[in-house]
Amino acid sequence: MQNGSEPKKHTIAVLVENRFGVLSRVAGLFSARGYNIESLSVGETLDPTVSRMTLVVRGDEFVMEQVIKQLHKLIDVIKVTDLTEENHVEREMILLKVNAEPASRAEILRIADIFRAKVVDVTPTTYTLEATGDETKVTAIVELVRPFGIQELVRTGKVAIARGAKARGRKAEEKLGKVVEPAPASKEPVRDIGFED
C-alpha cells in the first residue's frame, strides 16, 4: 500500500479482557506485522475484568488504520481508540537516580523544584527524583540533569485519557452493569476507529 502521509506518533487506548496471555497477543501482533511500539503500559480499570493499555505507535495513516483494525481483530480486545485525533491528556512518570555531589546538590533540587519533581530517595552521593509530565517535560528534565551524571533512569511509558466528560470504555463496563450513572451526552462527535465501514 502506498504511504499516504508522513509517519507520526499516535497514542492508542486499548481496552482488553484482563486475561492471561493478552499482553503477548498484543505484543505478538506488533512484531508479526512489523509495527513498532514506542511505549506500552497496562493496568486494571475500574472494572477488574478489564485492563487498559496505552500504546504509542509511529506510523502513517495507512499503517495506523491497519494497526487499529488488527488490534480490533484480536478476540480479547474490547475497544480501540486513537486518542491522537482528539483532545487528550498524556502523562508519563520517570524515576531518575542522579549523582549529587556537594557542589551540585542545591542546583539539582532547584531543577527538581521547577519541574515539580519529588526527591524520593537520598544518599550522600545521589538523589532519586520522581517526575511526571508529558513527553517534552520528561525529556527536558532528563536533559537538564544529564550533566550531573545520571546513574539510572526508568520511564513508565505513556498513559493517556481523553479530555471532557465522556468516558472511554464506559460502554464495555455498562454491559457488565458496572456503571450505574449514565454518561452525559457529549456534543463533540467522537471518533472511534475500526468498526464502521
Binding site: H72, I75, A172, D197
Partner: protein, 584 residues
C-alpha cells in the same frame, strides 16, 4: 453431574454436532483416548502424522461448512500441527484443534513432551486457549467452536493439560455464550450498499472479483444472481473457484499470476471492480500500482482489516458476503432492463465485444503431443470423466495451477486447495478429510510428485479407514514450479529440483494396500482414470507427464498483470522477467 475432564471434552464435541475427529494419540492426551474407548457416536480417524489431522479437518470443514476437529498430543504433536493451523488461518477455514499438555503443575518445567503450545500457536490461529481449570472446559470448547465458525472463519486451538482431563468436574453445557469483545458485523451498511449499487449501474466496464469468502458464506447463488441480473463478468481467485460456474458465459475464470489472459485484462481495464470475499493477495494483484488502475473499487468483506490493506478501496462494505449481496441484488433489481442498465447500454455492448476478443485471442492453450502426456490434458480428462461433479483436492505447485485452470468447476465447496500458505503435502490428508465427510462421493486428489511425498504416509490412513480417495500424481520428476521459475527467471540455473529418484508410486501404493496404476502415453490417460474412478478402494495413479511443461499464462512475481507471459518465452522476455523478480 460430575464427569472427568476427558469425558466432558467428548460430551462437548457431541453437543457441537461433531461426528468425525482426526487425531493421533500420545501421553498427555491419553485420558481422552481412554474415554473414547467406550464413547458412542464419534468416529475417530487415526492419521499417521499430526499435520495430516489438521489438513483432514480443513477438508472436512471446507466441503461441509461445519467445523473440522483435530486431536493430538503435546509437544512434537502440537508443533507438527502448526503448519495446518497456519494453512487454515490464511485460507479462513474453521477448524478447532485440541492438543494435550503436561499437567498444570508441571507447565514451565521443561517436562517430557512439553512445549509452549499456546505461545507457539498464538500467531497462527484466530484465537487460542489454555484450559487451566476444569470448570472452564465446557465454556471454552463452546467458545472455541463459536469463534472458529463465525465472523471470518479460522482455526482455534485449545490446549488441554492432562490433570484437567483426568480430574472430575461438574458438567453443564452452556446454552449461550457471550463474548463482549467479539461481535462480527454481518449486515452491510445500507448507505454503502446503495453507493455500491449505483456505482455498479453506472459502470461501463465492471468486473466481479470473487474470493474464498463467497464460498465460506455460501454466497454462490447470490454471486450468480447478481452477475446475471447486471450482466457483469465474473473472475474468481484460486480460493473462490466453484463460486461461479467455469462454463457460464459471464465467467472469466481465475485471475492473477496464473489466471487467464482475459480475466487479467478485464480487471486491468475495468472501471468498477467489485471484490467479494477476496483480499487482494499479491498472487492476484501482481504489482499493486498497476492493478485495476482505473477502477472504482468496491470491497465486500467480513473482516475490516482486509479492507484497504493492500489496495485503496473506494466503497468498503463490512459484512457477510451472502447478506450483503442479497441486499445489493435488491438495490439493483428494477434498475436494469434485460440485465443491462439503460444508461450504459452501448458501453456495455462494447465491453462484451472486447472481452470476447480477448477470449478468442488468448484462450487457455497447450501444445498437444502424441507421445508424451501433457499435464493439462490429464486435468481436462478428469474434468470430463467426473463431469465436474467430483470433490477436488490438490497439492501445491504446477499441477495445482493446471487443476485451477483446466478443471470445469460447477459447484461451491467442491474444491480444496492450499491458497494462502501454499502447503506442499496438503493434498492427500485433506482429501481423506473430505472423503470422511462425503463417504459416497468421488474425491480426487490431484497431486504433484514433489507435493505427494510430503504426506504419502497417509496412504496408510486411507487404506485402514476405508477412505477411497483417488490420487492422481502429475509426475514430472521435478519440483516443477521451482524448475519453471529457475528456467524463466533465474536464467536456467537449475538447482535442487530433480526428483527423478522418487519411489515407484505404483509399488508404493501397493505397499500400503492401495491400488496403483501407471500411465506413460496419452492413449493410456483415459483408461487409467476410468479404472481408478471405478475401483472401490483408494487408488494412486502415476501419470508420467511431459517433464518440462510450464504453466502459462504467467505473471512473474512483482510484475504487472497486464504484462502476462503467454507462452514459453524467448530470451528477451526471460531477461525482462528476471528483472521484475530482482526488482521485487
Amino acid at each position: 453431574m460430575k464427569l472427568t475432564g476427558a469425558r466432558i471434552f467428548l460430551e462437548c464435541l457431541k453437543r457441537e454436532g461433531v461426528d468425525v475427529v482426526f487425531g493421533l494419540p500420545g501421553g498427555a492426551v491419553l485420558p481422552v483416548y481412554d474415554a473414547l474407548y467406550d464413547f458412542p457416536g464419534l468416529r475417530h480417524i487415526l492419521v499417521r502424522q499430526e499435520a495430516a489431522a489438521g489438513h483432514a479437518a480443513e477438508g472436512y470443514a471446507r466441503t461441509t461448512g461445519k467445523v473440522g476437529v483435530a486431536l493430538v498430543t503435546s509437544g512434537p504433536a502440537a508443533t507438527n500441527l502448526v503448519t495446518a493451523l497456519q494453512d487454515a488461518y490464511m485460507d479462513s477455514i474453521p477448524i478447532v484443534a485440541f492438543t494435550g499438555q503436561v499437567p498444570t503443575h508441571m507447565i514451565g518445567n521443561d517436562a517430557f513432551q512439553e512445549a509452549d503450545n499456546v505461545g507457539i500457536t498464538r500467531s497462527c490461529t484466530k484465537h487460542n486457549f489454555l484450559v487451566k481449570d476444569g470448570k472452564d472446559l465446557a465454556p471454552t470448547i463452546k467458545e472455541a467452536f463459536y469463534i472458529a465458525a463465525t465472523g471470518r472463519p479460522g482455526p482455534v486451538h485449545v490446549d488441554l493439560p492432562k490433570d484437567v482431563l483426568v480430574k472430575e468436574w461438574p458438567f453443564e453445557y452452556p446454552e449461550k455464550i457471550s463474548l463482549r469483545s467479539y461481535n462480527p458485523t454481518y449486515d452491510g451498511h445500507p448507505g454503502q450498499i446503495k453507493k455500491a449499487a449505483s456505482a455498479m449501474l453506472r459502470a461501463k466496464r465492471p468486473v466481479l472479483y470473487v474470493g474464498g469468502g463467497a464460498i465460506s458464506s455460501d454466497a454462490a447463488a447470490e454471486v450468480r444472481r447478481l452477475a446475471e441480473l447486471t450482466q457483469i463478468y465474473v473472475t474468481t481467485t484460486l480460493m473462490g473457484l466453484g463460486a461461479f460456474p467455469s462454463e457460464h458465459p459471464l465467467s472469466l475464470e481465475m485471475l492473477g499470476m496464473h489466471g487467464t489472459y482475459y480475466a487479467n485484462m478485464a480487471v486491468h481495464h475495468s472501471d468498477c471492480l467489485v471484490a467479494v470475499g477476496a483480499r487482494f493477495d499479491d498472487r492476484v494483484t501482481g504489482k499493486v500500482e498497476m492493478f485495476a488502475p482505473n477502477a472504482e473499487i468496491i470491497h465486500i468483506d467480513i473482516d475490516p482489516s482486509s479492507i484497504s490493506k493492500n489496495i485503496q478501496v473506494h466503497i468498503p462494505i463490512v459484512g457477510d458476503c451472502r447478506r450483503v449481496l442479497a441486499r445489493l441484488i435488491k438495490e439493483v433489481e428494477g434498475e436494469t432492463r434485460e440485465g443491462v442498465p439503460s444508461l450504459v447500454r452501448e458501453a456495455r455492448k462494447q465491453w462484451a465485444e472486447q472481452i470476447a476478443r480477448w477470449k478468442a485471442e488468448f484462450p487457455l492453450r497447450y501444445d498437444w503431443d502424441d507421445e508424451v502426456i501433457k499435464p493439462q490434458y490429464v486435468i481436462q480428462e478428469i474434468s470430463n470423466l467426473t463431469r465436474g461433479e467430483a470433490l477436488i483436492v490438490t497439492g501445491v505447485g504446477q499441477h495445482q495451477m493446471w487443476a485451477a485452470q483446466y478443471y470445469r468447476f460447477k459447484h461451491p465447496r467442491a474444491w480444496c486447495t492450499s491458497g494462502g500458505l501454499g502447503t506442499m503435502g496438503y493434498g492427500l490428508p485433506t482429501a481423506l478429510g473430505v472423503q470422511a465427510a462425503h463417504p459416497d462421493q468421488l474425491v480426487v486428489n490431484i497431486d504433484g510428485d514433489g507435493s505427494f511425498v510430503m504426506n504419502s504416509q497417509e496412504l496408510a490412513t486411507v487404506y485402514e479407514s476405508r477412505l477411497p480417495v483417488k490420487t492422481v500424481i502429475i509426475n514430472n520428476g521435478y519440483h516443477g514450479m521451482v524448475r519453471q521459475w529457475q528456467e524463466i527467471i533465474y536464467k536456467e540455473r537449475y538447482c535442487a529440483i530433480d526428483l527423478s529418484a522418487s519411489p515407484d508410486f505404483v509399488k508404493l501404493a501397493e505397499a500400503y494396500g492401495c491400488v496403483g496404476i501407471r500411465a506413460t502415453k496419452p492413449s493410456e490417460v483415459v483408461p487409467a482414470l476410468e479404472k481408478a474412478f471405478s475401483t472401490p478402494g483408494p487408488v494412486v495413479v502415476d501419470m508420467q507427464v511431459d517433464r518440462e511443461e510450464d504453466v502459462f499464462p504467467m505473471v512473474p512475481a512483482g510484475g504487472a498483470n497486464k504484462d502476462m507471459i503467454l507462452e514459453r518465452p524467448n530470451k528477451d522476455v526471460k531477461a525482462k522477467a528476471a528483472k521484475s523478480q530482482t526488482g521485487f
